[in-house]
């Protein structure tokens, strides 16, 4: 089945140690998103790509970076994780047109120790 896959499902990292979360999709969607979701709160958009066009949210900390080497893959890099960065990170995709629905991965739960 076509889907959005996030790896790993659970990630433990040390305070200040760089960490990378990955997302892949088989839907061939133009748009890929990274959201941060804390403890039953609304997903907060960090950035999104339309093809290779990167769009950063104004309030996304510089500590968060992203790469999209091709249509299928997108990475979230956290350069120096702090305790406040512990959260669920959701990757999603959508098409430019069509029904505009966002398809989500299962998320990566990041713990910072």
């Amino acid at each position: 089945d076509a889907m959005v896959i996030q790896n790993p499902r659970y990630q433990v990292t040390q305070f200040g140690k760089p960490v990378t979360l990955s997302c892949s999709q088989t839907l061939n969607h133009n748009v890929m998103y990274w959201y941060q979701q804390k403890s039953s709160q609304a997903p907060k958009l960090l950035f999104h790509y339309y093809d290779k066009d990167f769009n950063n949210e104004a309030d996304t900390p510089d500590n968060f970076q992203s790469r999209r080497p091709n249509t299928s893959f997108c990475f979230l890099d956290i350069r120096s994780p702090g305790l406040g960065d512990a959260a669920m990170y959701l990757c999603a995709t959508s098409n430019r047109g069509g029904n505009a629905e966002a398809f989500f991965g299962q998320g990566t739960r990041l713990t910072v120790v």
């Binding site: 998103y33 039953s40 609304a42 997903p43 339309y50 989500f104």
Partner: protein
């Protein structure tokens, strides 16, 4: 800037009964999409129902229907014949049709279903 507001942090419904979740939004756009997403505990978020703003007819998907009031910027979700599997966080979301692809979420409503 667009905003989405869900004023009910939690709701509870008896199995087989009907519940309505509220959502209001703010935008200066005339055309846009509205969504309700469901996020079960420890499971991925999935689309429940979708509404295009230019369509006056309210969307319906089986037991799920919306009451879309464009002038009031209101978009409520009605769940009929509630089932135990409906227990989840429900997020109302907004996306413009042109000029960007951001999907903005409300704070969510946690729905409990009592047997």
């Amino acid at each position: 800037a667009q905003t989405v507001t869900q004023s009910q942090p939690e709701m509870s419904v008896q199995e087989a009964e009907t519940v309505t979740l509220s959502c209001t939004y703010d935008t200066s756009e005339s055309d846009y999409y509205l969504f309700w997403y469901k996020q079960p505990p420890s499971r991925q978020m999935i689309l429940v129902i979708r509404q295009e703003a230019y369509k006056q007819q309210n969307a319906t998907e089986n037991r799920f229907s919306v009451n879309f009031q464009k002038a009031a910027k209101s978009f409520s979700l009605k769940i009929s014949d509630s089932q135990l599997g409906d227990a989840a966080m429900y997020f109302c979301a907004y996306r413009r049709t042109t000029g960007g692809f951001k999907t903005i979420f409300g704070a969510g409503t946690r729905l409990f279903v009592k047997a």
